[in-house]
Structure formats: C-alpha cells, structure tokens
C-alpha cells in the first residue's frame, strides 16, 4: 500500500491526479475521530486496476469545523454515497455534495453516533431500558 499524507486543501487536486494516473477505483472512505488531537482523519483508499496497487491518501480536518471539499466531481454517485455516510455518522460537511441527506438514520436528532464522545452504552440504557441516571 502506497501511503501519502496531504493538506486538506490539496485533496481534490491530488485525487484528480491520482485518478488520471490510473487509480480509478474508490474502494473506501474511512473516517477516524481523534477527540484529543481535535481532528478528524480521512482516509481515501483507491485501487489502480492497471498498476495493481493500493493508494491511501490521508488528510486531517479540524474537529470543531469539520469541512472538506467533496470528490463527487471525480467519482459521482459513488463518492456521494460514501460522503453521505461520513456526514451522517461523523457530522462532516462535504462542500459541493448536494445530497448529504440521511442515509441509515431517519429522524435522528442527536450527536453523530460514530463520534468517540457519543456514549453508545448510555444511549441504549436510557432509550431501551429506561435508565434515568444514564
């Protein structure tokens, strides 16, 4: 796996170049929450059918203002779906993605549930077992 760490404002430019060089398959967009560092880490995992190599592009964004440019222009509806998931579960805004509508969780009003500071056990105890102290 080829690993590259880049600045967030260079994301679209770098991915466009990678795609032109044959990294055509956006395999996965993986988000990692680092509350202590006050950052979100975004990993774009891209495969090249020609070179038979995997490329990992890593970038960090501020946790207080989680915004980054969308890559919909490169991968269309595929990127749109991955970004919708990241928006719903981590609360990241992708500028340029016009369809950041709920994907899995309809009517969810709480904190994005995959963030590290969302206490999943507390939520379950309160919602399903009526624990008032939770």
């Amino acid at each position: 796996m080829i690993k590259r760490k880049i600045e967030k404002n260079k994301l679209v430019e770098v991915l466009k170049k990678a795609k032109q060089q044959g990294f055509e398959h956006l395999s996965c967009l993986s988000v990692v929450d680092w509350p202590e560092k006050k950052k979100f880490e975004l990993n774009y995992l891209i495969w090249s059918y020609k070179k038979k190599k995997l490329l990992s592009i890593k970038t960090f964004i501020e946790r207080d203002k989680p915004q980054i440019k969308s890559v919909v222009e490169l991968w269309g509806a595929n990127a749109e779906a991955h970004e919708r998931e990241a928006h719903e579960l981590f609360g990241i805004d992708f500028e340029g993605n016009k369809n950041l509508t709920p994907l899995f969780l309809k009517d969810w009003k709480g904190k994005p549930p995959f963030r590290k500071d969302f206490d999943w056990r507390k939520f379950v105890n309160k919602k399903y077992f009526g624990d008032k102290n939770a």
Binding site: M1, E24, H25, L26, S27, C28, S30, V31, V32, D33, N43, L45, Y49, K52, L54, S56, W75, G76, A77, N78, E80, A81, E85, P102, L103, F104, L105, K106, P113, F114, W120, R121
Partner: protein
Amino acid sequence: MHETKTYRFPIGPAHPAMANFGIDIEIEGEKVINAKSDPGYLHRGFEKLMEYRTYLQNTILVGRVCVFEPFSYELAYNIAVDKIAGLDVPERGSYIRVMMSELMRISSHLVWMSKMCRATGLDTVLKLAITYRDYILELFEESTGGRVYPVYIRPGGVRWDLPDRFNEHLEKALKKLEDGLLKIDGLMFKNDIFISRTRNVGILKKNTAIKLGATGPVLKACGFKYDIRKDNPYEVYKELDFDVPVYNGCDSYSRSLVRRNEIEESIKIIRQLVKNMPSGNHINKISPFASLPQGEVYSRIEGARGEIGFHIISTGSDMPYRVKIRSPSFTHFIPVLEDILTGSQIADVPVIYWSLDPCADMDR
C-alpha cells in the same frame, strides 16, 4: 387525450419480493423515471460495536454483517488482525481458511440462485438451490459446529482442525453439487423464460460500473476482469489454478452466468486444496486478551458479492480504535441500483434488484 401522471411509492424494506432494504420509486406509466435507495432497516452499527470489544470477541461479531457469507467477513477481518499483530498463519490454517471461504462462495451463490428464481417465477429452482446449499451447511456443521454462523476463523489460523472423515464427506457433497448444477442449468440458465426475463434487462456499462465502484460478479459481467484473488492475492490463492469468469452482456443474464461459473471454479479450487493440503499445525494462537501493537491496515478479499475490506486502526490496546467495513452491497445498492433502475420497466425491478445479489452488508 390521456393525461400522464407520475406516481411515487416505496418497495420494501418489508416486502415479499425484496431483501430487508427499500427503494422509493417514481413511475410514469410503466417506466421507472427515478429511484432512490432507502437503506437503514438493518443498520446495526457494527463498526461502532467493534470498538467496544476485544479483537477475539469481534471474530464472533463480524460474520453477522452478512448472513449469506459470514466466512468472507471472518476472513477479511482476521487477515487484518494477523497483519496488525504480525502473526504468521500456518500453511494448513491458510488452506482450511481458503477452503471454507470457497465453500461459502458456493453456498452464497446458491442462495442467490434461489432468490433470483423467485424474482423470475421459477419456483422449482427456488427450492432446488436451497436444497443443494444444505449439503454445504452440513459440511460447515461437521467442521465448525455452526451451520449458518460458523465462527471458525481466528487470528493466526482456524479454531480447530478438520474432523476425521471430512474429505470423504466433502467429495460426496461436491459430486452432488456438480449433478445439481447440471439440473439447474436446464431449469434456469437454458430456460427461455429465464433468458427472456434477464437478457438485456438492467444494463450497466463498464465505464459506469468502474466509476460507481462496482466489484465482484457485477463488474465481471461488464466484460472487466478484476478479481482480488488474482490481482492482489491473499492466503494461498497464488498457488491455485482457477479462471475468472467474465461476460460482456452487461445485463442481468451475464451477472447470473458469472455467478454460475464461479461455482464451478470454486469446486475446482476446493479439489486442489484437498489434494495439496499440508499436514501440521492449524493455528498460531494469541491470548484472547492480547493488546496488539499500534498500526493501521486495510485488508481486502474477494467475497461472493465483490470486494470486502476492513480498515482497522490500532492504538495499542486490546480493542480496535476504529474499524471501517467496506462492503460490496453498499456501492451496488446505492449508486449502482439507482443508476440501473432509472429508465427500466416496473416489472423488471425485482429481476434487476436480485441480479445484484443484495445482503445486509449494505447497512452494516
């Protein structure tokens, strides 16, 4: 003058012709003019659940991502854990892992055959395919103790060695499957009803498929040869001799043929594994409470539906810090399905839907 009206209505998630996944459809006459996928009915939050459990506890959880192919998820997850922990899998362990995941591919394709025939009204194959799947489930029960959820692959190898008369039973089951496949050929793949219901239905062109992230049989049916077992081999696939079936039809029929021929290739692989199976240890164990070193890994395997990936971040504790699951149905059932359905006929919706082989891994 007739007035043209458009109607919007949901199909699924709780609908007899659908898996547990819905689509909002807008039609004009009989033509679908817009389709929006509506996942979430089976969203169980696996990625979050896994952050609360040790690496070994997670081996029990991962298979549940997709009920039709738990071995594929067990394999992809354990390859990732092996890499983080720096574990070497003994050769015998690796052979057994591949054998089980190929059996799972056959089992999953048989379930798909059954569901595809339900969508096209061929009720005989619906029952026949499920019956043949049972021969494989019996093998799973014999070797792992579990029919549907085996929980068998562990970090460093497999849970226990194969039972005494397993190879004998396996060969018997494979022979039955080969006979069954011939029967199913006549009833399904050479059947005019099936051909007319699937040929030129649900066209997905190669360039669109690549852009939308299609993998597995869906991509192979667009005339594009991409199989992780060949292009980025894991476990013992490098040593095995098998073909990757590819068809150029770009339609539901080609997708069906790819899966049918993958069954034959899997049988070929399993026979080679039995013939060359090395003796020795089947697992290099780690402690159930072991803390793994810091690291990041992305493991990918070729599942029955396509590319399955696990992106795992370890911060040095006994539980993963973050697990991201890349599931094939996520891309097949959101961007790909929406693209194919738009412009299709309402009567073809179930055929197109099942030709992509849905599973609960789209929600995770």
